[in-house]
Structure formats: structure tokens, C-alpha cells
Symmetry: D3
Subunit: 301 residues, 6 copies
Amino acid sequence: MIHNGIIQNTITELTHNHAAKYPYIPLHRQHIPSLPLINEIVASIKEVIFPGYSGVSAIEENALILHTGEHIYKVFNLLKHQILQTLLFEQRLNEANAEIRDKADEISCAFLERLPHIKAMLSTDVKAMFNSDPAAKSYSEVIFSYPSISALLNYRIAHELSLLNVPILPRIITELAHSTTGIDIHPGATIGSYFSIDHGTGVVIGQTTIIGNHVTLYQGVTLGAKSFTVDDEGHPQDVPRHPIIEDHVTIYSNSSILGRITIGHDTIIGGNIWLTHSVPPYSRILQTKAVMLNFTDGAGI
Amino acid sequence: MIHNGIIQNTITELTHNHAAKYPYIPLHRQHIPSLPLINEIVASIKEVIFPGYSGVSAIEENALILHTGEHIYKVFNLLKHQILQTLLFEQRLNEANAEIRDKADEISCAFLERLPHIKAMLSTDVKAMFNSDPAAKSYSEVIFSYPSISALLNYRIAHELSLLNVPILPRIITELAHSTTGIDIHPGATIGSYFSIDHGTGVVIGQTTIIGNHVTLYQGVTLGAKSFTVDDEGHPQDVPRHPIIEDHVTIYSNSSILGRITIGHDTIIGGNIWLTHSVPPYSRILQTKAVMLNFTDGAGI
Amino acid sequence: MIHNGIIQNTITELTHNHAAKYPYIPLHRQHIPSLPLINEIVASIKEVIFPGYSGVSAIEENALILHTGEHIYKVFNLLKHQILQTLLFEQRLNEANAEIRDKADEISCAFLERLPHIKAMLSTDVKAMFNSDPAAKSYSEVIFSYPSISALLNYRIAHELSLLNVPILPRIITELAHSTTGIDIHPGATIGSYFSIDHGTGVVIGQTTIIGNHVTLYQGVTLGAKSFTVDDEGHPQDVPRHPIIEDHVTIYSNSSILGRITIGHDTIIGGNIWLTHSVPPYSRILQTKAVMLNFTDGAGI
Amino acid sequence: MIHNGIIQNTITELTHNHAAKYPYIPLHRQHIPSLPLINEIVASIKEVIFPGYSGVSAIEENALILHTGEHIYKVFNLLKHQILQTLLFEQRLNEANAEIRDKADEISCAFLERLPHIKAMLSTDVKAMFNSDPAAKSYSEVIFSYPSISALLNYRIAHELSLLNVPILPRIITELAHSTTGIDIHPGATIGSYFSIDHGTGVVIGQTTIIGNHVTLYQGVTLGAKSFTVDDEGHPQDVPRHPIIEDHVTIYSNSSILGRITIGHDTIIGGNIWLTHSVPPYSRILQTKAVMLNFTDGAGI
Amino acid sequence: MIHNGIIQNTITELTHNHAAKYPYIPLHRQHIPSLPLINEIVASIKEVIFPGYSGVSAIEENALILHTGEHIYKVFNLLKHQILQTLLFEQRLNEANAEIRDKADEISCAFLERLPHIKAMLSTDVKAMFNSDPAAKSYSEVIFSYPSISALLNYRIAHELSLLNVPILPRIITELAHSTTGIDIHPGATIGSYFSIDHGTGVVIGQTTIIGNHVTLYQGVTLGAKSFTVDDEGHPQDVPRHPIIEDHVTIYSNSSILGRITIGHDTIIGGNIWLTHSVPPYSRILQTKAVMLNFTDGAGI
Amino acid sequence: MIHNGIIQNTITELTHNHAAKYPYIPLHRQHIPSLPLINEIVASIKEVIFPGYSGVSAIEENALILHTGEHIYKVFNLLKHQILQTLLFEQRLNEANAEIRDKADEISCAFLERLPHIKAMLSTDVKAMFNSDPAAKSYSEVIFSYPSISALLNYRIAHELSLLNVPILPRIITELAHSTTGIDIHPGATIGSYFSIDHGTGVVIGQTTIIGNHVTLYQGVTLGAKSFTVDDEGHPQDVPRHPIIEDHVTIYSNSSILGRITIGHDTIIGGNIWLTHSVPPYSRILQTKAVMLNFTDGAGI
């Protein structure tokens, strides 16, 4: 059986002396969070925030409290376990003790208490999206089918978990939305009310970004870092390095705003701009006019 | 049980006086469409349009009519129910009556009659994709693995439903494709034959866009609105506000074409352009040449 | 039953004279690959490369060989069958013979032997990602939640299959990653070690691209073709047409680098650039400064 | 296409003049209960009664109230909807009105209030099963793996729903257990505490059976009806027609006890008995001794 | 790694020289039928026979033809493939040829034409079940929740396939029902109209049994073979060896009727009987009266 | 909200003072085995024993070792974890230590080494089933569709685990088969080669039963205990209390053989017998002849 020999050699090659051969792929000896269960947590929070919009059944007035009750309990039961896993993951522990279990429970409780705030913020986001899209017919339609609402739901959940110092889980939650919407918002970013993102694919909002109220972004906008200083081990330092966007700013498609700069309030930035310096309030920024040629011989460019 | 107290408070906070606290999250009292069933409808239409490409089994000649028959019946049975849900959703009705049921049936029938047209258009799109990619080896490969074909399948279905005035469902269908391909085509857009999109992530085609025949777009191209007028309640008006792209136009990656402008036929637009005015036929548009510096000291930018 | 009549007509319309009406939708008479099984293959290779990171269970030291063994066998059993399907698909055969079965087995074996190399390359990619993101806390976190790692895992698998001349399968595998990450790397591209992509949505790397070591790309970067020559039947020719990126190059968000040009080593290219000519080592490329206006009257742009 | 002709004929044959051709297969025009959701209800009640035994996770002391809370809410939300469906089913209504919705809510509430009683009864059944099986090692093992506990869980749920006059649902719930355990207990039967069934396959307990406390049955025992009177339309009348089994009775495998007879307390009935008359307390009933032959020539029987 | 050594030895032990070590476990080199797809076929036939009873949605009058149409097409598409697999299985062929494909198509067509007959027979079975159970409230309830209807549905499908000489598939279909209902009817048995089985667990009806009209069986009844003659290779011969049950016969629980005997019409057989000889019409058969003792000292039996 | 009040009361009622109110429902504080994973283990062992019979794909000669290799690794990885859970369950431990992990590994290894023996025994069972059923056409058909083979597969796995003193898991494995086949074999029973069970529903084989070679049982046969002595705490003692069945014995349907008696070799026991005393070799046991009456007036019995 030649195949079996090759298989055995391959197994050996891939496992013998693992740490030396694959130095940046550490073996996990700890518990790790579960993607399917995290998905379930987010789905249940969605049922709490936007009751009845998951496409299963309408929620009548007198069923609201029962529907919310079921999902709040479920969120708590699942969340405290996943938070426990992430604490073990971070502290590289094999087994839980009473202290760490209590901490997981406390964080979960503290998160629950932030849910009304998250819901209130998302209510303003729905309004902002509705106001910025002529094609929108109702708030319900916005909630039901706009990818930016999904991305903001996950971001606002992840941001609160991040403020409670939960490791890794916030990033996983925003990546879930990144994967389905193409919108990549770091949980560490601070975002005000009435925030809207149209279309959204390719939007990136970095970790130390600060965004005011009534801000609108279009697809492909990057709020990123330009460069960063590196620590002694060659790892870049985690310092403020992303833009501050003040109230009532609009940024058009595919523009890149980089570095710890400030975009003054009531500014409009056109599309396809590379911007690495601050601009004052009420600015209008436009790309230099393109070169235009007119051929009739079918030549390419 | 301190936890249970916090849970009970949170439930109350999230549900008591809901309309006042969360004004833009209306409770649904109506039936709503079902995402899993809509996915099933699209999958069955795909079996009708591209028989045997779903990766389950080959379709031999004499099985084509049977395969098509099964899926046409299935589409009709599922679609009429989902259309009924969207009509109830739009009219805020709790229960269906005979009139609205008949309307859902008629629309579903009318949609079925458009399927041969949809299939003929998609046949030309496959040809266009094949011709624009040197890496493509066969039409089958294009159908089987190109995301733009998925996006156009969903768009062409949604567009016909949109012409039949079906509410919300068309948008849901294009968002399904947006989520998996990063290509966001509004169902209201009008797109001619032999249309191709290469790679596609980040492409946005707005609601009132009109695209001719033999047009090619690359990834990240936006055909969008620059601004819009607002009605008395602050909601923007739904008027023509996106570009008209004539026949045989090619637009390279990440360019933003905005407003009700016309791009003349046989034009080529380079990448990373911000364009807000019309251009005549046979134009060639290029970004202003970049600034180039040459350092040897490792400095950043 | 008027509905049934319309249904029967539609079935006829969609199937009668299929080849004439839908010339670019060939009926499949051959076996075709199965997406769910290809997904399973990739998932098992992921278990081999990053053991225990799939969120199911931690892998202790002495379980590594057993865990790897299970998945190597599984990969082999599934892969040889899918490769057989793609060979039949390419050669338009209805049934397999001994020769083609043997070929599928041999290719699968040869692929297995490349797995240690794939794993070693991905180990360097993890290190590169970790070094380029200040927000990263550990290698584990990078492996667990960074979409670029998923995209590179699929690319590096697909690239090896592509070198073994497996048809269609490599493209399907990179499209799976494209769909979830928005990163579109053609399996034919050649990519060195310590490669990193930050955020990644909208990145396109074309078929004949050659990338050195220690290269970093940001979201929305295109390494594409500018134009191509067409053969006698109007199909574009498959020749080198994408850029060569030398070692230690960084390219910022949304830039488009097109054509068979060379970007010299240690170059940094800013964002939103359209670049179609070669640049020497140590270059710094920046977009022409934007036009800036300052309004206080609320006018748009 | 000869196949398509046969298919069309078959469809016509099966649907044209349906009521005349298939008089005992009424078309359903009403809502009907959903088996998957009923399964979910029973699974959640099981989580309430036997918390943590579903094989998913252990339930620690301080998690009990949270775990119970989640499932009680879930049971209520699902149950009121399924009860509504059965009320519509029974009354042959197409749409619900407020009155019938209220009734469904009230019944669901009343059922919830019986759950502590159901749990207390099942606690005694666990004890009885443990005491009657030498192979049992702990109460936990009995709860975890004995089919009779599953059957009694479903029966005791169904019986309470039956007392609340819920149509059809109780029977569906006991049939779910019948299908997996082979134990067929009619929801109408009355069963005391400390009831045990060993092995259980083939046990039948009829609708009007009354069973005291501390009764034990073995596999294949029938507590059935011998005959019944028929009403004017030929349908048998629903009157008491099954046995009364007093306290502390044991019935061995495969015995059939039929008719409205009384088995006195502290009686033991051997296996394979056909019994159609009452017996006094403390009875011992045995099959007539079998005929025994002794052959050495290998003849059959 | 001692574990890996043991694993390798075990693999060798289980595979080396397989045919010699495990002579009655032949390796399959042929295609084999798929249980999940056979389940889907039966489920679709159920939708055709009992439209709308699967718990998903009500079927209104004008939807009947559409609902039936979808499932008839689906049955045909799936069935012809599974029949092909069983023909290959029986003939030990690795690959299909045109002749065997045509045969599979023809059998599938012939089966479709028997569906109206199957439906008519099942309609009478529903009536018979309704008439024999005082607890039944409507035909709908019988169809919806009686396991005997499931068992008869599968049997009547399997019997028609058996008459068309389809190998193995009929047995698989009746075993599916056996597994969920405990009722084991061989597809070869011949069963008249208005047949009912109450409770049903443990009922066995052998291959050459012939049952007339209006026959009722209770749980645990065996219509079996007493003995059989053996061919030269020690395999028993397939000859008539099970009972003939004439019209209007009732057999009570757990009785065993064995051998090619005839039970005359209008006979009633009590429970727990062992019967191996024919009985004339109008017979009444009862077990010899049990021995009855009366103890008050708690002694066992 | 009256409903919410009732819900809160019910939660309290079900959880407050749990141990006092529900004394025989202990809360689980330990890990418990997982039914879905145990199902997966059994399914993989089935792939090892009967390669290719799961209905997924044929196994060619040269694929046998690869197929077996994959599933042996999988069984080992899953089994050692489930055995660990059962050891924790039995010892009421919350967390694992190194010693108990090693024990789980060792038991799993020891079990793997018994697989060739299990496979050899099942090979003889297939032969025995084939020889006892005239309707069987091939060994393959027996393996593919006879429920008794499923039941014996699970029993023979469970029996070996039982000999290795694995707690609770063996019982769960035999109950899985009991649920789908109606055949209830205790893992503790000892069963020789060439064992067959025809039809099988209702068969019960108790914990201390000893069965020789070439034994055949029919449906509904009980090999059980008649009575048992009780320990000081009222729990029955686990002593030999089930029959010894010598070689070449056949027992017909629904007979009950009870107590520590011996059925001599080459004996045939007819159906519906209650037997509580030993019988010598070559015996023939028959039920006393039934009472037969002949009525023509339609009277019942």
C-alpha cells in the first residue's frame, strides 16, 4: 500500500517537532470559544433588539415581554460560558476555578445591563439609514434588509464587550459581520448616534477611531492608520493612530482617511481621496480632476 | 438570586414603553418574509436557469424537462406564499383575504412567464464573462464558479419582481447576493445584455442606473448618486439620480461615477477615478499621474 | 386550472430547443464537483494546519498525531474523489476508467506531500499579520479570527493543486474564501513567505502575479491586468499580464497596480493610486494632493 | 417526451375529483400543528424537568433558575402557538380571532402551572425504575438512559394537556414517545405515582385505563379494550372500556389484560396471559403449563 | 507514540486479507442506494397521497394540483436514480449503461401510474382505522397521528415496487417504517382494502402472507412461517409459508399465527395464542384459561 | 402582564428547594456524555466493520485501508473523550486530572484492539441471519437492511466496553439500537457466534443471560429475570438471574423465558410460552392447545 506509507510520512512530517517547524502556530491547550454558539448569542441579541425581524414570526404587543424574556435568558446562559472560554484562552488556563467563573458571570450581567443602551443607539442608526437612502420605504425595510444595520448591531454588541475587557470575543463578533457585509469595524472604535453606512462593502474603521453623531460613510471608505511605532520586539504599539471624525461629516466611496487626524464637523469628503492631514469644519475635499482623452480608434488605456 | 433580578430589570427596560424608547424600531404585527424560503426559491430558479450546476448531479438531455418541471412547480408554490407575505407586510395587514391571495398568485404566474427571458439574458452574460477573462477555460467553469454570475442571477430575478411591483422581496434577493459576492446591484437598475463584472467585490449599482449592452465593470466600481433633494419630512426623494452607461463601456477598478450623468458609448474609464460629469462617446479617462519619490532610508509616507 | 397551463408552457419554453435558445449555457452530462464536500476538504486541511482552532476542542500535545491522522486520511479519501470529478468534468467523460482513477489517486498523494510546505508558509504569514497589526494580542488570536489567514489558507491549498494541474477545483477553493473574506487571489499567482493582507475586503491578485517575501497589502488593492490580446475566436490569451511585486513592498488601501510591471523592493505605494508603469526599488508613490474648499453654507460637492 | 405525458396524467388522476375518489382523505384547509416545533417543546420541557440531562452541559446549582427560566419562556412561546393551531384544526377555522388566541394563551398558562406537579410525579417514577432494575447504578443513569422515563415524560405532559381539553396535540406527543420507545400510552389514561415499565417495547395502555401507585409493567403488556359498542354511524363509542389496575400490581411480559375489569391490589400476573375478567387483591395468575416433548431426531415443531 | 502503533496494527488487522477473515462481509464495489434520498422519496409520496399532512402548511383546493405536480416530478427524478442504484447493486455492475438506465426510467414511470391505486387503498385504510378506534375524532387525526397509517403507506409503496421486481429498495422502505412504528410488513405480502392495525408495535406480516379485506390486527400479532425447507447450500427456500387470512378477521394482541394455514372469514382470534393449523370461517379462538392463585403473603410467582 | 407573573412563579416553584421537592432528580454538576457524539462513534465503527454500507459510497479494494484508517482515528479521538466524560460522571468529578485522562486513553486503546474480534463475530451473525430467512437474497442485503444486524453491532460494541468497565456508555449504545429496532440487549449479556434474531421487535435479553452459538430468536422473545433479592436499602441485587441458552436453540415469537434456568442445546421452544424452569437438550415446548369455538352469529369473544 504505497498510499498508506505516504500518508504515514505526511502525518509524521506535520506533527513531529511541531514547535520548531511551525513556530507561529502555537498548539492550543486551552478551551477556545465556539463560533456556532457565538452566532447563536448574536442571533438571540438580535431578537431582543429587533424583535420579530428574523423572518420567523411576527411579534404581537403582548408577546414582546415573553419573547424578550426567552432570549435574554438564553443570551445570559450562552454568553457567560463563552466569556469563560475567552478568559481561559487569554490566561492560558486548562481548567476553570471559582474566581474566574464568577468573573464571567459578572461580566455577562454587566453586559445585559447595557442592552437597552445598545438598542437605543441602533434605533437612531435605523433612522439615519432611512434618511440617507431615497430607495428606503419604511424603517421596517431598513431593519429587515440593510447590511449596515447588521454590521452596526454586531459592532455595538462587540464594543460594549470590549469596554468590559472581554478578550477576543468582540473581534470574533465584528468579524462575523465583516464576513457577511464586507464592513470591518474594530470593536475598539467609538461611534456616536445616527450613524449610517450606505452599501458598505470595503468600509474599514480602525481600533482607535472616534466618530461623532450624524456621520455618513459610503462603501470602500477607510478610516485607518498610516504608520505606527514598533516596540522592542518588533511588534507595533497599540496607541491612538486612527482619525477623529466630528459630527455631521459625510465621506464618499473609496476614500482613505489615515492617521490620528481630525475631520472637522460638517465636512464633506468626495470619493477616491487619499487624505492624511486634518481638515477644518465645513471643508469640501475633491480629487484632482481626471485626465480626459477622446479616441475613436478603439485604443485601450 | 441577584442575576435573576438583573435579568428581570433588563427585560422590563427593553420592553416597557417600547414605542417611546425605540421610536425607529416598529414592532411587527404582520407576517414577514422568510429568508430560508427565499433562499430556497432562488436556489430552485438557479436549477431552472443553470440546470445541474448546483453540484449535486449532472442533468442528461432527457431529464431536462423533468428537472425543470420539478423546480418550476416548487418555485411557484414557494413564491406565491412569499409574495403574499410581502403584500401583507406592505399593507400592514394581519390576515390575508381572497383578493390579496389572488394578487399574489397572479404576480407569481406573471413572474414565471419572464423566466425564459431571464435565462436568455444570463446566457449572454456568461458569454461576456468568458470573453473578458483570459483565465476562463469554458462556459461551464464560468457558470460554476464566477461570483458575478451569482450576482447577476439574483439581480435579474429581483429586477423582474421589481417590475411587477413586488415590495421588499427584490431587495432581499439582491442583498443575498451582495452578502456572498460583495456586488450590490439595486433591483431597480436597468442592465442590458452581455454584461460582465470581473472580481466584483465592492461594485455598487444604484437604483436608477441605466446600463446598455456589452458593458464591463471591474471590482470596486460605484455607479452612485452624488446628492439628492429632500421632501418636507426630511426623507430624500426617489428620482433619477444615477448614471446612464451607454453600450461598450469599460470601467476599471475602484472608480466612482456619480450623479445623473451619461457615459458615452465605447468609453474606457481608468481606475480610482472620481467622476461627476458626463463624457462623450469614445472617451478615455485617467487619474492624474501620481507623485513619485525615491527614498533609500526606509522612511514611511 | 389556468396556472397549470402557464406552468406547462413555461417548462416547454425553458427546455425545448435548449442549445439554440441558450447557447452559452451548456447542459452538463458529466459529473461535477460538490461544493459541500470541497468545503469539508478545506475544513479538514485547516484542522491539519491549525490543529484545534476550529472552535470545537483544544488539542493537547499527545493528541496531535491522532488528530492529524484522522484528518489526513479524510482529506485523502474526499480529495481523490473530487479530483476525479474534475478530471471527468474537464475531459467531458461520463464514466471513469482505471487510468483516470489512478491519476486522481496520484495527484492526491502528491498534494498530501505538499502539506508540510503549505503549513510552513502559513506559519510565516501568521507572524507577518501579527507584526503588522498593533491590535493583535497573540498568534492564536490572528489564526483564530483574521480573515486574511482564511484567504491565504485557501490560496496556498489551491496554488499547490494548480501546480499539479488539477482543473477547476483550485478556482472553486479560492472563490470559497473570496465569498467570505472579500479577498480574491487567483490560484495561479505566486506568493512568497511572510505575506500579510490587512482587513482585506476588495483585494484582487491576478493569475500571473508574482509576489516576493515580506509584502503587505491593505484592503481594496488590485494587482490586475490592464489589457490583453485576443485570439482568433475573440477569447483573450492567457499570458503574463499582472504585476511583479518584489520583497518588502507595502501597498495602501484601494490602489490599482495594473499590467506586467515591476514594483521594486522596499517600495511603499500610498492609497487610491492608479499605477500602470514599473517603479524602481525604494520608491514612495502618493496620490496628487486633493482639492480642498471650505464652505460654511452647507453646499454639497 | 412520453415521461412528461405520464406525469401529467398521474397528476390529473391524483387531483381531479379528489373528494369523490379519496373520500377518507379530507383536504386540509386549516392550519395544522408542526411536528418539529412540538418536538422542540417537549425537549424544552425535558430541560425543565430533568435539567442538564440532555447531554449538552452540566447545570450547576446557581444556573438552575436561569436554565429553567430560558426554557419556561421558550415552552410558553412555542406552546401557545401550537395550541392555537390545534384549536383552529379542531374548529376547522382558516384564520384566528382574538377570542381563540386568548383561549390558547390561557390554556398555555394553565399548563405551565402544572409543570411542578409533572416534575414531582416523574421524580417518583425515577425512584420506582431504580428500585425495579438490579442493573441500575444511580438515579442519574435511569434518567439519562431508560426509555420508560422518556415515555412517561411524554405521557405526563400529554395527560395534563388532555385534561385541559387540548385537541390532537396530546396524542401527537405520546406518539412521539411511542415511535422511539415502543411504549404506547394514551394521554387519556390515569396513572399514579411510582410507576415503572421495564424494557417497555410493545406496552399498550388504553385511553380509559386507571392505574394506581407502585405498579410495574414489563415489555409487551397490553391494558386494552376487548370490544366496544358502535354508534348509529358505525363509529365505536368512547366509553370506559380498559382495565383498572390497583396499587402494588406487577404484570409480566406480553400479557394482555382486556376490558373494564379490575386487577386487585398486590396482584402479580405472569407473562403471556390473556385475561378478560377481574381478579381479587393478592392474586397470582400463571399461564397453563406448556406441553413438553423431547426429541433427538432434529424434528421441528 | 504507543497509541499510533496500536492504531496502525488495528487498521492492518481489520483490512489485511479481508475476504478470508470476514467471509460474510463482502466489500461493496457497486453503487448502493442512499437512505436519506429514499426517505425523501417516501416523504414526497406522502405529500402526494396525504397532501398537507406533513405539518408544514395547509393545502387549499386550488393549490392541490400544483402541490401534487411538484412532488410527482420530484419523486420521479429521485426514484429513477435510486432504482438505477439498486439494479446496479443487484447485477454487481460498477457503471451504468443505456439499457439499464432505460429500465430504471420505465420502472419509475410504471410506479407513478400505480400511485392513484395506492392512494385509493390508503383511503380505505384510514376509514378502517377510524372505525376501529373509539378514541379517533376525525379522519384527519387518523392520518396525522396513527403509526399504522405510516406503516401501511410504506408497505403499499414497497409492495408496488416489489411487483415491478425492483430489488432491495422495497425492503428498505418497509424497514424505515418498521424502525419508527415497530410494525414489520414484508413488501411481498398481499393485503386487501380496509386494513387496520391498532397500536401496532411488534406486528410481523411475512413475505407470502395473503390478507383479505376488512381485517384488523392488534399489537404483537405475528403472521409468520413455522419452518422451511432448505436448498442444497443450506439456504432456506422461498416458497409460500405464511398464513392466508380471509375477509373480516380480527386477531388480538400478541398472537402468533404460523405456517401456510388459512384463517376462515369472519373469525376472531383472542390474544396470546400460538396457532399453527387452519380454522374454518366464523371461528372464535381463545387461550386456555390461566391458573389463578390467591396469596396474601407477598410471595412472587 | 399576568402571563409574566405566572411564568415567574412557575420558575420559582420548579427551582426553589429543588433537592427536597424532587429527591430522585439529582442536579448534574459533572460532565455528561453527548448523545450526538456517541452516535457518531457508533456510525464510524459501523464504517470500519461494514465498510461502504452506510449508503454514501462504494469502497473499492485499494480504498479499504484508507477508509478504515480515517474512521479508526476518528473513533479513537471521539471515544477517549466520551469515556473520559463517563468516568467523570461515575466519580462525580467536576474536572479531569492527568490520571483519569490516561485511564480514558488506555481504555480506548484496549477497545480498538477488540475491533477485529467484534468484526469477526458480526461476520458470523450475517451468515446466520442469511441462513434463517428465505427472503434474503445476499449477505449484502442482510447487512444493508436487517435491523437485527444494527442491534447486534451496537450490542457487540457495548459488550466489549462493558468488559473494560466503562460506566453508562455501554447502556447508552444498546439503547440507541433499542430505540430504532425494538431489540433490547443488555451490554452485560454474553452471546456466542452465528446468532440471529428475526424481525426482532420486542426482544429483551437481560444482563446476566448467557447464549451459546447458533441460537435463533424471533420477535417478542424475552430472556428475563423472574424475581430478585433486595439489598438493605431496597435496591435489588445484581446477581445471575437470567437464562442460559445452549447451542443450536430456536425460540419462537413472544415467548418469555425467565430466571436462572438452562435451556438445553438443540431445543425448540414454540411461541407465546411462559417458561420458568430448565429444560433438557433436544426439547420441544409448545403452548397448550387453544380453545376453539365456532359461531355464525357475529358474537365477539
